[in-house]
Amino acid sequence: MILNNYFDNAATSFPKPVAVAGEISRYLNDVGGPYGRSFYSRAIEVSGTVETCRDMLAARLGISDAGNLVFTANATGAINTVLSGLDTAGREVWVTPMEHNAVMRPLQRLQDRGVAVVKILPAGPDGLVDPGAVRNINFSSAALVVICHQSNVTGLIQPVAEIKRAVGDVPLLLDTSQSAGNTPVNIEEWNIDYAAVTGHKGLLGPTGVGALYMKNPESLEPMICGGTGSRSDSFETPSFLPDRFEAGTPNVAGIYGLYGALKEAPEPAHSPDDILEMLDYVSGIPGIKVLRAEDANRQGAVFSIITDEVQVSDFGMKLYENFGIESRIGLHCAPLAHKTLGTFPTGTVRIAPSIYHGRTDFDRLIYALENTAKKLRI
């Protein structure tokens, strides 16, 4: 049996379904040609696959009209499209205390320019937003609420539907970077206004392809303008989707890869209970503190650890040197989350399993954590 020691799936997932490389190769070696813009069979096949991928991705995310889903390079591109395209002048943008810099950096820029004021939603010590407290906030000056669905540091899953109900008519941007493919995402059922998606993490696609969902696309100005193969007689950007938000040649090879991932999505090799059981065991290892959701029902398949007496960098290095465990060390581009958790600026060792990990892999991980802690005399 080949053990899977790669536990950095919150950065990017590995392995991928075989069809991912297969579809990319098929596009690059056999099919070729553009998306739209031409009439021959090659172009029709490419355009058909891109649209099938869009339909499959929409279905996976609980979106009935795939026409409201546009391809982007990644979730960061989708988030920037919303934050730069929405009128936030002089208004508030509310965020969870667990946001990634994909949200915080564009917001900081807006704040520095005097275009928006960033506010933090009320939450518990693990960053879980309190919908009851949210209901008491005066959102009259709010332009947007941003929710990191699943923390990339602790795996905490926010109560999205309850938060949306609590914020009422204020538009909500859901960052599904860590959740899509790992935990259910129901965009329309939760009445989400915007959703940012990346293809290369839980959805198991290649890097360089993501998506943005917009319930009301007319509420946003596109971040990028250019050729779309439509209305080519005009300098005006088309008003219709997806063209309005898909200027320039898309990452067709990447979309083929995502199509492969979606059509051959594997069944999980572990259950949520397997994750919780592992977390409970690791929490009992002397000298190791696990950073996780306080409510087990809000735990996803990512968690962090810190150690009492050694730097997380040393711990992570020993995990790799002695046991081959590939983890991520540091702040994980989420300084706000670490300030919330009290782990700023030293950070954590992050363990991010994938859908392919089974109990045997978890047993091996536990053995490695236990023995590393022991050897470092924690």
Binding site: Y35, G36, R37, S38, F39, A43, I44, S47, G48, V50, E51, R54, G67, T228, G229, S230, R231, S232, D233, P238, F240, L241, P242, D243
Partner: protein
């Protein structure tokens, strides 16, 4: 023959799939230059199939402009 022109590539692909699924013969052609400055695809079908196709497209809210082949030079 009739030429159906759509606003986006997605609309052309959805329309062709829908029309073919209803066993209506059609083919994708370049948008005739006399019809539109679009640089993409249009759908061509028999005049007798137009009504059935138009109903299908309307049901799916796919907007199209219809032209007679006689109006265009192919």
């Amino acid at each position: 023959m009739k030429i159906l022109v759509f606003e986006s590539t997605r609309a052309v692909i959805k329309a062709e799939k829908l029309i073919r699924a209803a066993e209506i013969e059609c083919r994708i052609i370049p948008v005739p230059r006399t019809v539109s400055p679009l640089c993409g695809m249009a759908v061509e079908l028999d005049e007798g199939s137009l009504q059935k196709a138009a109903v299908l497209l309307e049901e799916k809210n796919i907007k199209t402009d219809v032209f007679d082949r006689g109006e265009v030079s192919l």
